[in-house]
């Protein structure tokens, strides 16, 4: 059977739904969606940002077995966590959490879209924050400004110069953070141990080995 035929044969089978249930955080809620569309209608980013698929469609695509389209979709990454959908869902489906769960799973298995800005921010922020237990704001800003190259980074930096100086003057930004100094938490080792334990528990719960993220 050719690839395409295999794909068609898998349509509306439970395979991908089961995969999401087992692997993605809150994935077990996908089957409970009743396709009313309230989440899509409530989403403040949907139309402005031009999502490929609103949540309602993502849920249906999972049930229709469209694995490639779902995992490579940028839609889940556009969520701003405003929780409108979760609050309004008549079936009490935690749509926000499900979207994050699917996004995280797609990233974990390397299927998430490359160079997706929110994804980049999430990764950068996480690495930055977990390294010393506190966010190094100067480095975080730097890595975001210089994401698209040195020229673009300098240009953006100059644009934001006055804001930065104002923050420094007000004591809200420590320029020494650029050198790796600045504030840290008291027990960095403890934080790292805590995170490792959390990963271990998560892995136990989902019954999978601890890779990535």
């Amino acid at each position: 059977m050719s690839d395409l035929n295999q794909q068609m044969a898998n349509r509306y089978k439970n395979n991908f739904l089961k995969e999401i249930e087992e692997q993605a955080e809150m994935g077990e809620w996908v089957k409970m969606c009743m396709q009313c569309g309230l989440c899509s209608g409530s989403c403040p980013t949907n139309f402005q940002a031009g999502w490929d698929h609103p949540p309602q469609e993502i849920f249906m695509m999972i049930r229709a077995g469209k694995r490639d389209e779902v995992l490579s979709s940028g839609s889940m990454w556009m969520c701003t966590s405003c929780y409108n959908c979760y609050v309004r869902c008549p079936r009490k489906v935690p749509v926000t959490h499900v979207m994050h769960g699917i996004a995280e799973y797609a990233y974990r298995i390397g299927r998430a879209p490359k160079n997706q800005p929110t994804q980049h921010l999430s990764k950068t922020f996480w690495d930055n924050a977990t390294k010393h237990g506190r966010v190094n704001e100067v480095k975080l800003t730097q890595s975001l400004y210089f994401k698209d190259g040195i020229g673009a980074g300098i240009k953006k930096g100059l644009e934001m110069k006055d804001v930065a100086l104002g923050l420094v003057k007000a004591g809200r930004l420590n320029p020494l953070e650029a050198l790796g100094m600045g504030h840290k938490c008291k027990d960095v080792d403890g934080i790292h141990k805590m995170l490792a334990k959390a990963r271990e528990l998560e892995a136990q719960r989902k019954g999978r080995d601890n890779k990535g993220a």
């Binding site: 068609m8 349509r11 509306y12 439970n14 739904l17 089957k31 396709q35 249906m60 695509m61 229709a64």
Partner: protein, 753 residues
């Protein structure tokens, strides 16, 4: 009967004495009303006032009383004198409550009240006390036709209430469709799993019930008579005929599934792996009996994937298939998907729906199915293609907006229901017979029956052997207000023969119908009318010497109460009559009347109204208002103090169908400036208590235009208004608008003749 002695009573309570000159009203009752006794009272409905009337009846020999106080709908317990003829002049809701309490209005308000006093006096003199129907039957045995869920429930409920029941079932076993179900949709908390179909339990209870006599393999050969005295012949298994005396009948003949063979695009019949819902129940029962999983019919292998196609051949807007929803098949498909999921959670079950409708507690059931991994997808199926031992279901996914497909070992079609309601008697009868419904048949021709219609009740009625049918072949049973009331008195329909419904609804329906049937038997035994004039002792009498055998009464009677005798004169079956008066309104020679409601009782009121001459600039407008909806709405308008024009005079009628056109011509000839008729909505969504009454009345009214032209009057002077009981605030506005229109015309040229 003793000598006639008339009395009028004028109440001064509820501000009547303040707003009106009651002494003048008393004078009117004496002089124009010509009443023998006229009394005023400060508070007529008080014990003292009632005692005064009672004393006049007992000691003064009063036989006719006009009570001029509040509406006939108010204080009915106080003014309850069944031994005398009684009329009510509506001075409160009809006059002082709808008029402003101002000096300018005083004169017209007083005139209005005086007219109502005259009308009440005139009406009561034209009335006699109804003796009650003498041709009663006192049989209290209920016949239930159909031994399915509805029929068995009706039989058990009637038996529990202490009545004998004869249950007739066409097949060799009780249980109907429900008996064919592997399991049924849950009826109890937590509504999460299919449960036992419950048929065995009901059958056991029926067999143990001494009140219930069951005929299996039997049909109704003949039904003759009327409520309380039906003679029913039952064609029994042996080929013989059994006779039963019956008081009332419940038809619970259920439905058949729409023929899936009419859906070639879904490959039904081309492969055994496409089944309808009944087919799946059979597979599930067979599998359960053998202790195996449900298998593919084509090769006997266990089913690994199944697709349910909802709305197959139903809710079809094109008119090719059924247009309506069957009400239960969404829940049924959910239940059937659970058969698979409960035996093996790895079986793929997909329900393709356009709108999932889960009545009752089906929403919990739906959620339970989702929880078990049944996939629900919004999609329209275009084709099912057999593919070896599997099928490809091609459909449009409405959420993803794409044409797609799913593979399945088994496809289940939810095909919908066709009522098993017998012969469509209106299709047999020539539709041209002026009953006003033939002309509007522009709706797309619809496929209804898939089985050859055979009569179920075999009634010996002139109107045909079965009950009239509503849309789509369901029995007509006052859909909106009184769901069990059919158009054949004492015969009730229950369950899916009446409208599409599931088991729980059918059982509720059957219980309701059993209660109504019992009420009908009891009332018939007492010579009283059934719904909606339950307890009414009057009945129509006909002066045969004047009858021209035009057959309008026999054709128009909405309830099939009138047969024809050998000489082709109308033959009234009083026990079948609902007392709507449609026959009376239809009769061109006016020979049909009731003791307390006749062409004369209304005609006398019309004539009693004082019509001022054309220079007085006081028009007179007659309103004939349906007593079921329009008159209560007018009363409530009064309670809410919504004012309306002082020149209208309202006469309640039993139904718009009872309006005889002579009243309209008499009124116009008598100098009235306009006539307004208020009746209920008619047509497919009728609200008429007598089903066809308002429709027939309006049909007659449509011919009044010619009369008006012949009299050289504007045709707009006669107005037909559709009124619902809720039109409390808008009704006075409409009266006022109409009154303005009438005032814009010159005064009627017939005044003063």
């Amino acid at each position: 009967m003793a000598e006639t002695k008339t009395a009028a009573y004028i109440c001064k309570g509820c501000e009547l004495g303040v707003r009106l000159d009651t002494a003048a009203l008393a004078k009117v009752a004496t002089k124009s009303g010509k009443m023998n006794i006229v009394r005023e009272h400060d508070f007529l409905c008080s014990a003292d006032g009632v005692a005064m009337i009672r004393n006049d009846i007992d000691n003064e020999g009063v036989t006719h009383a006009a009570i001029c106080a509040c509406s006939r709908r108010a204080k009915t317990e106080a003014f309850n004198f069944p031994t005398i003829a009684m009329s009510r002049g509506n001075l409160r809701e009809g006059v002082i409550w709808i008029r402003p309490d101002t000096e300018e209005a005083r004169e017209t308000t007083q005139e209005m009240a005086e007219d109502y006093v005259r009308m009440a006096c005139a009406e009561v003199k034209a009335m006699t006390v109804p003796p009650g129907n003498q041709k009663t039957g006192t049989v209290k045995t209920l016949l239930v036709v159909g031994g399915g869920m509805s029929g068995m429930t009706a039989a058990l409920e009637a038996s529990k209430a202490g009545y004998k029941v004869v249950l007739v079932e066409k097949t060799g076993a009780l249980g109907g469709w429900a008996a064919r179900l592997h399991k049924r949709v849950p009826t109890r908390e937590p509504f999460k799993s299919p449960e036992d179909n419950g048929v065995a339990d009901l059958i056991a209870r029926i067999e143990a019930d001494a009140n219930i006599k069951v005929y299996l393999n039997a049909t109704i050969a003949k039904t003759d008579g009327a409520p309380g005295r039906f003679k029913v012949e039952i064609a029994v298994e042996s080929g013989g005929i059994a006779q039963e005396d019956i008081g009332a009948i419940i038809q619970a003949t259920g439905f058949n599934l729409y023929d899936a063979g009419k859906l070639p695009e879904f490959a039904y019949g081309k492969t055994p792996n496409v089944v309808d819902q009944a087919g799946l129940e059979a597979l599930a029962r067979a599998a359960a009996a053998e202790g195996k999983p449900i298998c593919r019919p084509s090769d006997g292998q266990p089913v690994k994937s199944v697709v349910f196609v909802q709305c197959a051949g139903q809710r079809d807007a094109s008119g090719t298939h059924l247009q309506y929803c069957s009400g239960f098949c969404c829940n049924t498909s959910i239940k059937q998907a659970m058969y698979f999921k409960d035996s093996n959670p790895d079986i793929d079950t997909v329900v393709l729906f356009t709108d999932l409708r889960t009545p009752g507690n089906g929403e919990d059931f739906y959620r339970a199915a989702q929880n078990r991994g049944v996939i629900f997808s919004k999609g329209v199926v275009s084709q099912v293609v057999p593919n070896g031992n599997a099928c490809t279901v091609k459909f449009k996914d409405l959420i993803l907006n794409e044409d797609t497909q799913a593979e399945a070992d088994l496809v289940v079609l939810a095909t919908g229901v066709v009522p098993n309601s017998g012969v469509n008697i209106e299709a047999v009868a020539a539709p041209a017979e002026g009953d006003g419904e033939g002309g509007e048949g522009d709706a797309p021709k619809e496929v209804v029956a898939t089985i050859k219609p055979e009569s179920i009740l075999n009634l010996t009625y002139r109107q045909g052997p079965d009950m009239p049918q509503f849309k789509h072949g369901f029995t007509d049973s006052h859909f909106i207000c009184f769901p069990y009331e059919t158009r054949r008195t004492g015969i009730y329909s229950a369950g899916p023969v009446r409208r599409p419904m599931d088991i729980a609804q059918a059982q509720e329906d059957a219980t309701g119908a059993a209660m109504k049937a019992i009420q009908a038997m009891e009332n018939a035994g007492l010579g009283k009318a059934a719904h909606p004039r339950a307890g009414d002792l009057s009945f129509p009498t006909v002066r045969l010497e004047g009858c021209t055998q035009c057959k309008r009464c026999t054709v128009e009677c909405p309830f099939g109460a009138i047969d024809e005798d050998e000489k082709r004169f109308p033959l009234f079956n009083e026990s079948r009559c609902r007392r709507c008066g449609t026959c009376m309104g239809a009769c061109p020679v006016r020979v049909i009347s009731f003791e307390n409601y006749s062409v004369n009782t209304v005609g006398a009121q019309i004539k009693a109204v004082d019509v001022p001459d054309e220079f007085a600039e006081k028009p007179r407008i007659l309103i004939l208002a349906c007593e079921n909806d329009a008159y209560p709405a007018l009363d409530m308008a009064g309670m809410n103090r919504h004012e309306y024009d002082p020149y209208v005079r309202v006469i309640p009628v039993r139904c718009l169908g009872s309006v005889n056109t002579i009243w309209i011509t008499d009124a116009l000839n008598g100098g009235y400036d306009g006539v307004m008729l208020m009746g209920c909505k008619h047509g497919e969504e009728y609200q008429c208590h007598f089903v066809k009454g308002s429709e027939l009345g309006r049909y007659r009214l449509s011919k009044v235009g010619d009369t008006l032209k012949g009299m050289n009057l504007e045709t707009e002077r006669v107005k037909d208004l559709e009124v619902a009981i809720t039109d409390i605030a808008t009704l006075p506005q409409k009266i006022n608008e109409y009154a303005e229109l009438i005032k814009s015309f010159p005064p009627s040229p017939f005044k003063g003749f």
